[in-house]
């Protein structure tokens, strides 16, 4: 192994430690209450994970929360961008996941038509 190889391993492997650093830029919170799961939240969560892996986004983490009572709008997903208001999306499905990632998480533009709530962190 050369110094150069060591550097390459570090760059590749340090992404694997990101989850443990607690300094993600974006936190995606998927509502996984009973009604959320019944409405397909598991699938939505998996779609987010696939999409993030595909785009190799290293500063985004995905976590879950219980239902917040908006059963009619499930699956509900919150996007927490550091130092920005929290944006809540309703009726999220696989198609919407793709748009949320590209438009909101990557480009910073919330998608007005899916927003059901905006609140301060």
């Amino acid at each position: 192994m050369k110094l150069e190889d060591l550097r390459k391993i570090r760059e590749r492997a340090s992404k694997d430690l990101n989850l443990r650093k607690g300094d993600a830029r974006v936190r995606i919170v998927v509502g996984m209450g009973t009604s959320g799961i019944a409405a397909g939240a598991r699938d939505v969560l998996a779609a987010f994970l696939d999409e993030i892996a595909k785009r190799d986004l290293t500063d985004v983490v995905v976590t879950q929360t219980g239902g917040r009572g908006l059963a009619s709008s499930e699956p509900v997903v919150e996007i927490h961008v550091r130092e920005k208001p929290i944006v809540v999306y309703g009726n999220v499905d696989r198609d919407r996941v793709g748009r949320i990632i590209t438009e909101h998480v990557v480009n910073g533009q919330a998608i007005e038509e899916f927003v059901i709530e905006v609140r301060e962190p």
């Binding site: 192994m1 050369k2 110094l3 060591l6 391993i9 570090r10 492997a13 340090s14 694997d16 430690l17 989850l19 443990r20 607690g22 993600a24 936190r27 919170v29 998927v30 509502g31 996984m32 209450g33 799961i37 598991r42 969560l45 998996a46 994970l49 696939d50 993030i52 892996a53 986004l57 983490v61 995905v62 976590t63 879950q64 929360t65 219980g66």
Partner: protein, 611 residues
């Protein structure tokens, strides 16, 4: 699919002995059966520190701790937390406080006030995964010294950092490096002293188990700086997990070209051999350790010559403790100024301590030098359990002494502790509450040193048993008035005339308790009383006739049938003759009717009744 949860299972020795492996296996099985094994990763780490709470699982990105786990809890965590995102409150460390703090990215009181430098990877990475170590800047310091620094510059940098030996004596590490670097000759050696043997000490074990590569990297940097191409790590056989992880780490580093010939293709060669010690305390003494490394019986050599001139196999040898090696890569990466900015002027950096004894949060902690004993015991350690008062803190194990409660605001550094008659030592901190008898504690440590004396020099071999005899006498109420003076005289003579550090320091636990707790010694000798009611021959157990309900619990519990009485016909009574003062009856009594009394008071009462 991207990973969404990192589940860190502590597999330090404390959690491992509480069956963390069974929890890991159950977790793995549950993840597979719920189809979560791709998005959730299990990582086995070294010691996270709060051993009292084990077995522990730490879940990221939330950063929440699940504590005191059993395999039966695993299913609930997987189904509720991992699947549905609901934290399992009943298993959280400090529910619901833990949850709030974790969400605010703040820390639990146990971690607040700690500063993890040496232990930064411990409990955070998988010690058996070289890539995780590299990801945490592993081997970057070695890369830097090999490509950007001359050996002299590395030595100068360690000197400038002010790092002092973490094995206990506090000798300036950079100076040692300079001595060995200045020696001529091609054959030099580097040695890591991992023969941790103090009762209550587990700092070195935890670092070797939790982050073995940090120690290897430190040694390789040392080898480059002083011109050594080989090193030895000496670990005792009682540390099987540390040995297993070290072996694996050495193998991985060799395969990756980070140890062995031509390290990182820079022309520098360095390799490490593991030496397993049979567990003699004296082998923690550096010259005895070197004898043992050579395959001889571990007895100390007279100094000089010092190991820096003639050490392992008569080669100039750089020998340091595990934790000292663990500091090296951080100093190289962040610079000596950064290191000096932590801790105090004369004792820069951090120190790892193993907290044990009568303290709520027993475990492994790392704090900046200069932190006070009070902060260590109360803020981080969570104070004394069962509402008891603190009496003293023992540091430095069998070579150290006791610091009484009134000196708790002393900052922890080499000089301040020495002034109080104790030493920094390798980091064992034993907290003692009001029920501890200081004479008994001194006897415990002296007994240990007697047992571990190698027998080579007379003061230690013959002097320590004399001191122990006197302590046995005092704790059984047969002390003589001149015993205290005799203990002091013996202790000072052994200290001045013993060959090695073990003998020289062995009287310390006695001398320091004599210094701070002479009253207690006097109570034993002059009144035949143990004020803490701990010395068994000086106490008797009595049943309070008014409180006894004749429930028969104590009689059934007594292992020597010393209690008599009939169910339903109070009071019961204890016969002091067969009683072995095990205290079981007191523990089981539901009515708090059994108490300890001093033997002397009972005799006095009997005499009065008789006359």
């Amino acid at each position: 699919m991207k990973r969404r949860l990192d589940v860190l299972v502590c597999s330090g020795a404390a959690c491992a002995s509480a069956h963390s492996q069974a929890i890991r296996d159950k977790l793995q099985a549950q993840l597979v059966s719920h189809g979560l094994d791709e998005e959730v990763q299990i990582i086995e780490t070294g010691c996270m520190g709060p051993c009292e709470m084990g077995p522990i699982v730490l879940v990221y990105p939330e950063g929440v701790f699940y504590v005191h786990l059993t395999p039966a809890d695993v299913e609930e965590i997987v189904e509720e937390h991992f699947l549905k995102g609901r934290l399992v409150e009943r298993l959280l460390w400090e529910s619901p406080e833990a949850r709030r703090l974790a969400q605010e990215k703040r820390q639990l009181p146990f971690f607040d006030g700690q500063e993890k430098v040496v232990l930064s990877n411990c409990g955070q990475i998988d010690p058996e995964n070289l890539e995780e170590y590299i990801a945490a800047d592993g081997y970057a310091a070695l890369g830097r010294v090999l490509s950007e620094m001359s050996p002299d510059e590395v030595v100068a940098s360690i000197q400038a950092s002010g790092l002092r030996g973490r094995g206990g004596a506090g000798f300036p590490t950079g100076q040692k490096w300079l001595f060995v670097a200045q020696e001529s000759g091609n054959e030099k050696a580097v040695v890591c002293n991992g023969d941790e043997g103090d009762p209550g000490a587990f700092m070195d074990r935890s670092l070797l188990e939790g982050d073995p590569h940090t120690v290897l990297e430190g040694m390789a940097i040392g080898g480059y700086a002083v011109g050594a191409d080989h090193g030895y790590i000496y670990v005792r056989a009682e540390y099987p997990l540390a040995i297993k992880r070290l072996k694996r780490a050495i193998e991985q580093a060799r395969q990756a070209g980070l140890l062995g010939p031509n390290v990182l293709e820079t022309g520098f060669s360095f390799d490490v051999e593991l030496r397993i010690g049979a567990g003699a305390f004296v082998c923690g003494e550096e010259t005895a350790l070197l004898e043992s490394v050579e395959g001889n019986r571990g007895t100390p050599r007279p100094r000089p010559p010092y190991p820096s001139t003639s050490g392992a196999f008569k080669q100039p040898t750089l020998i340091s403790n595990v934790e000292t090696w663990g500091n090296i890569r951080h100093i190289v990466l962040q610079g000596p100024e950064w290191f000096r900015s932590i801790g105090t002027e004369k004792s820069p950096g951090t120190k790892v301590f193993a907290l044990s004894g009568n303290v709520c949060n027993t475990g492994l902690v790392e704090v900046p030098m200069g932190t006070t004993l009070r902060q260590l015991v109360f803020d981080i350690g969570g104070g004394i359990p069962n509402g008891k008062k603190i009496k003293a803190v023992q540091t430095g194990g069998p070579s150290g002494g006791c610091v009484p409660a009134e000196y708790l605001d002393t900052p922890i550094d080499y000089e301040s502790l020495k002034e109080l008659g104790t030493i920094m030592g390798s980091g064992g901190v034993i907290v003692m509450d009001e029920d501890s008898c200081m004479v008994n504690i001194a006897k415990f440590f002296l007994d240990f040193s007697c047992e571990e004396s190698c027998g080579k020099c007379t003061p230690c071999r013959a002097g320590l048993p004399q001191m122990l005899d006197i302590l046995e006498r005092i704790t059984s109420g047969e002390g003589r008035l001149d015993d205290l003076a005799r203990l002091r005289e013996l202790g000072e003579t052994i200290n001045e005339t013993s060959l090695c550090g073990l003998g020289q320091a062995a009287p310390n636990p006695v001398l320091s308790t004599l210094q701070h707790f002479e009253d207690e010694y006097r109570a034993h000798v002059e009144q035949g009383k143990c004020p803490a009611m701990a010395c068994r021959t000086l106490i008797v157990y009595e049943i309070d006739a008014a409180a006894c309900k004749a429930c028969d619990r104590c009689r059934k519990e007594c292992p020597v049938d010393a209690i008599s009485g009939q169910p339903g016909k109070p009071p019961y009574s204890i016969d002091a003759e067969p009683c072995i003062r095990c205290g079981q009856c007191q523990l089981v009594c539901p009515f708090d009717a059994i108490h300890k009394t001093s033997r002397q008071a009972v005799t006095h009462r009997a005499q009065q009744q008789g006359s």
